[in-house]
Symmetry: C2
Subunit: 185 residues, 2 copies
């Protein structure tokens, strides 16, 4: 897949549908930009907080290189990978951005975002541009509240094989889909 | 499975392993007890906040009957179901505890917890007894911070077929497991 085709495939996603990407708990890649440097980190500790505008809460440890970038720039992108990117996702989690340009090292393609400085990762099927809107729980829990201001999706991916961390290098890959008569959003 | 066998199968789980149950993002059943009444609600908006003692952040909407119970009693149990309980999970999400005793209506078995008044659900393979430890984000986001004080698991369930909400009655069932050389916890 060329970068051109990846770029063309990216459609804008209505903000009201963002929760459907994060609610099932996928491992995501968080990108930041700060003082002219971009970075990627692997993240599993996140939750939806509100449907629309979509609010997301997430933990970015103050031991992570991304912490300072997120705290200062107050912007990031949440990129959702599928299983074919699993090895890269783990590599991104194994090293610090202090030591390495992970985009170059792991062959990830940075695309410009529409509303934030942090880049989209072209290899991910969905990208959520976010702004930090509440830092009250950062000091105690490293917990940031983000508002998703722009969302992108590859419409060709219908049943994404997202990956879900079960600890210590064990990941569950999204399986079959079932449909039930739910009144839940 | 009789209630007796369910009770016998339940082992204590070290608190350091709790994150491995919630990090992959399963739909869970939250139980509460308040003024002599127990209740169950379906919940997907939760995240780990700390490994040990395990802290969990979760959204319980103030439109839910469980909200008042959680706010007053400051205790609950997070119960993790698998796919064979999927229809019951959806039923629990479709009605309010105001109108119905969901344990009786949906054939769920309440077992006494060790440290909290809220009951364990016997049909779930894991149960986390929790206390509310931070309510700073409740007013704005209905976001509660819980500390898991006791955890139970059915050790016979090795690769749990947890269910993961993708919105509007669509659920992803946990698929295959892959193992990668990760330094992540």
């Amino acid at each position: 897949m060329t970068q051109r085709s990846r770029t063309r495939a990216r459609h804008s996603l209505p903000l009201s549908r963002v929760y459907r990407l994060l609610e099932p708990g996928p491992v995501v890649l968080l990108t930041t930009a700060h003082r002219g440097r971009t970075n990627v980190m692997t993240m599993s500790w996140h939750t939806m907080l509100e449907f629309e505008p979509p609010l997301v809460g997430c933990v970015v440890s103050n031991r992570n290189y991304s912490f300072a970038a997120l705290k200062s720039a107050k912007e990031c992108v949440i990129n959702v990978p599928t299983a074919r990117l699993a090895e890269t996702v783990v590599k991104c989690g194994n090293v610090s951005g202090r030591a390495k340009d992970k985009f170059a090292a792991f062959g990830l393609t940075a695309l410009p975002a529409a509303q934030v400085e942090a880049p989209l990762i072209a290899e991910c099927y969905a990208n959520l541009e976010c702004r930090v809107v509440d830092t009250r729980l950062v000091a105690k829990y490293n917990f940031f509240v983000l508002e998703v201001c722009k969302a992108w999706i590859d419409p060709a991916v219908r049943a994404p094989r997202t990956i879900h961390h079960r600890g210590r290098g064990e990941f569950m890959v999204a399986g079959r889909t079932i449909r039930l008569k739910s009144r839940m959003m």
